[in-house]
Symmetry: C2
Subunit: 340 residues, 2 copies
Amino acid sequence: MTRDLTRRATARDVAKLAEVSVATVSLIANGKSAGRVTPETEQRVRSAIQQLDYRINTTASALARGRRDTVAFVSPDPANPFFSLVLDGLASALDESLSLTILWPRHGDDYDPSTVQRALAGDLAGLVLASPGATLLDTISPTCPTILLESGETRAGMASMDLDVEAAGTGIADHLVGLGHRRVGYLGVERDRSTLNHRRDAVERQLQSRGAALSVPDLMVQRMTTQSAYDAALPLLGRWVADGVTAVVCADDLLAYGVLRAAHELDIPVPGTLSIAGFGNLPYSSMVAPSLTSVDLSARELGVRAGNSLNGMLLGSDPAPNETLRTTVVGRNSTARALV
Amino acid sequence: MTRDLTRRATARDVAKLAEVSVATVSLIANGKSAGRVTPETEQRVRSAIQQLDYRINTTASALARGRRDTVAFVSPDPANPFFSLVLDGLASALDESLSLTILWPRHGDDYDPSTVQRALAGDLAGLVLASPGATLLDTISPTCPTILLESGETRAGMASMDLDVEAAGTGIADHLVGLGHRRVGYLGVERDRSTLNHRRDAVERQLQSRGAALSVPDLMVQRMTTQSAYDAALPLLGRWVADGVTAVVCADDLLAYGVLRAAHELDIPVPGTLSIAGFGNLPYSSMVAPSLTSVDLSARELGVRAGNSLNGMLLGSDPAPNETLRTTVVGRNSTARALV
DNA sequence: ATGAAAGCGCTAACAG
DNA sequence: CTGTTAGCGCTTTCAT
């Protein structure tokens, strides 16, 4: 059943074989033949389609109907399980007629601008940008409905959607203070992304309101990887513990893994001498490292919300460009809801 | 700098504004104006392009030039870090002019046939199918150069590329027997995928040649998830240990995590009373669960090989349809090499 | 019920 | 150097 791949059968080939016009082929191939084509003709066309293994050329189809049907997703690090969850949410929320595509960056390091340009160049039904930084956003002008996920930024004409960082901070603070921790260290990432600053601010605020504090200078790493967290924590963790730090909060659970490993390396009992918590929700977290406390940031829900919103936008019911982070999300079948 | 998204500027708009023909616009937009357009004209066109924020419509462009430029990747479970590695390899191996797209399945469970259909429908430069089962393969006929990754299957007209399972089995056997293990249990997945059977066979063969054996009936789970492995292992692990089993080999490291967790739950020391090994190479394995032995299956290298091969195919140097698993890989800049 | 014809926006010969 | 022209393969009125 091998076939020549150099040339796919076109509607014209089918038309010729079935002795009909391309218009008829188009009708049938698109399932719009209801009561417009005699059963005999239809049968003839169908068998021709089968015989030639004809499939509609999506490029030509898209051009002719002038409608885009693919939603693209770009993220700094699509391999990160966090984004996998977002993607799952997005995929399940998208309209049937839409298909989801992930653009994979060529160059591994953080946000690859050329990947974003690739996305902007394609003609898309919608674009989802996961946690883009301010400088990146300043360089782009949207070519289709665009949603910013977890950027902590707002831009005219683009919808923003952010996780409820304040609630997450509260969760961490509750947890740690409840366990008796008072002196806490923070591990963050130096990066153009205000959402990460929000996390730190939220947790600090919540700790302080409970009589605890980030009691040592933050430890900042360059990259959001387990390895870099490990490298940074290894020489410092002992000092922190000596300084009375009993808990570490990380901007991301990827980082938390690194700290955990460093603690193991240094024979610091976790939990016990040290508790480690992080924002984020790696799907394997609880499976693999139960000693880690990870705050559920509902990545999947974020994806669902974005999907709904995107549908809303595509259906023309795009809410007015949002001026604040309070984005109103309008879904296909869902009621409008506000995201704080 | 917000713009109307309902209609993007076309080459005609630019042409009109710059008072040239669309052909000229096309030349300039594609950077083919070298010595064919006066600097003045070019300048005029460029500023018109900028003014209107014109970008080439990729759909129309693709249709006109009849050349596809996107390579699609479909896998049963793109969220699995294993595939992330493959993707990284693929992305880095692809030609600059090609762009990589991941189709995300709508329905979470294992291989989603409709996702494959989506891929087949699109007009692609190439398609990479990660570990497709035999029944899936029987239902599809390729519409573009197609590569099967880790399927353990061969099909005429499609290139196959598989990990070196035998070497991996040797690695595991060496490791376990070296530690003194003789009675080993195996945890696999009931699934239409011969590659997984290969893994079991390889490890059994290698164990036996070293005087060890899979000494209890295999434990088979339905899904390749940490959870299902945990659920299955929990009631059984104690009996295995009582039967003298001192090591468990898993078809995948996702499963190994589940067994590890079950062992924790049952207070079985790992390593100590029990060693757990698995095929696969989750990037976080060594970070997070150092007590697990994971055999490096070189997922990234697999991606690189596929990328090279795809390029070879796209460049017209497609090796003859392979009849055996010994696929010859022809890369752009790399020498041909044989994969065993 | 079916076909002819006019595009969708772009590219690539080919003229001039 | 630049414009004219003829498609790429499909969809969609509009005639017949």
